[in-house]
Symmetry: C2
Subunit: 289 residues, 2 copies
């Protein structure tokens, strides 16, 4: 099931995306059928999820609004966003090699942006860059969970653009500020529930900048997998429904990296992963608004 | 004015601490006199703050419960906690010297603990350490503010123990996990409002471990000051009421550092700053609970 959060004049309601026989994605509102007000609550509630699944299966698709006509909110609004650095073989961001433990950094909650919403590059930004990633959405509270039990706490997966300002990121040893600029984390468009993703392996990720593919990688190159990460992190941080673990970005090909320049006003980046959809973001300069 | 958040069976209400003629601190509930439900809302509301000040000045102190009998909550529950590394001259945590920009890291919101509540060191913890700091509490939303206007966005100051697990902190280049363990951020006991703190300069900080002073420093050794930090950060992150900027810890004296060992079950650490009060925390091992 694909779950979205629909923005109805600021009221964020859970919805299911249902493909009609015409191939057009439409959105079923889930508030009435589940009795649950937000997508984060829905993710933590197995009974409501089952009701949503049944209703989505039975929906009279022709009556539903097309997804393209619906204003989406970010699927969740996490309090905690933990991101992996160097988590694909071959990714040598900042020139470092593989490390013996996951290299985890934090993005603050102000980064989260709705799918399709532009990212505004502030005046103080210096070198804005994109990182296409798969984000794990926590479904139920995870504290001290074993690796074998970890997947039961995963609600599903969505796409994340770990937008980064390389200038701010590299001003000091800690990357925090370059990673936490307002809106520097477009998320979505939907959460694919974990029952439809038994394993992240064997998926293709592509990142396209202005129509040119700059990253092409298989999730098989992921170093630390989802179950391990949930276990590892939950030893010290209680993960709650809606919290995110973003699994890191694959490297750009060296010949692409050699030509890489910071993002400029009007450029568009799409992150695309087999079975998880695609997330397109336009970057705009605050000076031009 | 000293403002606290009182925990009444999970309901967190704003209160003012008022010293009686007997020298005993007592707590005035501010919900009725201000019409505001939480301390974070109160901090953002000048009219309510003025009403609180008037009520605190007129309170019949003898009728109020002693502070010692009141259960305190953390004064605020920030969504964003930005912390400074290396922000006192002479502090060479991790052996690094002074950097050309503030070295800012993030702690996740799960760290925040009530004043007086114990810090539980989880089983996975390896080398737990304390860092006494002064935290700036944001009062009104700050985005792109000039240094000259920055102080208008500061509600006040409180004490923070930036508890850190050095083992986790140093597993990778990013300190995030060692800084973000559940409960590793005791905060309080109160917020001293900014009108009573025209300047942080000239204050003495002492940190005491098991009755032995291990840190003694003047705030005059602070590198980046409050107005600059609010300005600097607000260029890229919208700071909201209740958000925290923790201004960093002074170094332990070299002879103290040479004998330093990780915290063990039952040890107590007190952070004390002139005019801002003191914050005492007991550390307990999860294994011993």
């Amino acid at each position: 099931m694909r779950l979205v959060s629909v923005d109805l004049d600021g009221d964020e309601r859970p919805g299911a995306v249902v493909a009609g026989p015409d191939g057009v994605d439409r959105v079923l509102d889930l508030v009435a059928v589940t009795g649950v007000a937000t997508l984060a609550e829905l993710l933590a509630d197995d009974v409501a999820l089952a009701a949503a699944r049944t209703a989505a299966g039975r929906a009279d698709v022709g009556d539903l609004p097309p997804l393209a006509d619906v204003q989406l909110a970010p699927p969740v609004r996490p309090a905690i966003i933990l991101c992996l650095g160097y988590n694909y073989l071959g990714h040598t961001e900042a020139g470092l090699g593989q490390e013996p433990y996951p290299n985890v950094f934090i993005k603050t909650p102000n980064v989260i942006g709705a799918p399709g919403a532009p990212v505004v590059m502030p005046r103080a930004a210096t070198e804005v860059d994109y990182e296409g990633e798969i984000a794990v959405v926590i479904g139920t509270t995870a504290k001290n969970v074993d690796e074998a039990d970890a997947m039961a706490h995963v609600a599903g997966y969505t796409l994340f653009n770990d937008v980064s300002d390389r200038g701010w990121q590299n001003r000091a040893s800690q990357w925090a500020l370059g990673k936490s600029i307002d809106g520097f984390g477009p998320l979505g468009p939907w959460i694919v529930t974990a029952d439809e993703v038994p394993d992240l392996a064997g998926r293709q990720m592509e990142v396209e900048r202005e129509g040119v593919v700059t990253v092409r990688a298989s999730t098989d190159a992921m170093v630390y997998g989802v179950a391990f990460l949930v276990h590892y992190l939950s030893q010290i941080i209680t993960l709650r429904p809606g919290d995110l673990i973003s699994t890191g970005t694959p490297a750009r090909a060296p010949e692409v990296q050699a030509l890489h320049l910071p993002l400029t006003h009007g450029e568009t980046v799409t992150v695309r992963v087999t079975g998880l959809g695609e997330l397109t973001t336009t970057f705009v300069s605050a000076e031009r608004l």
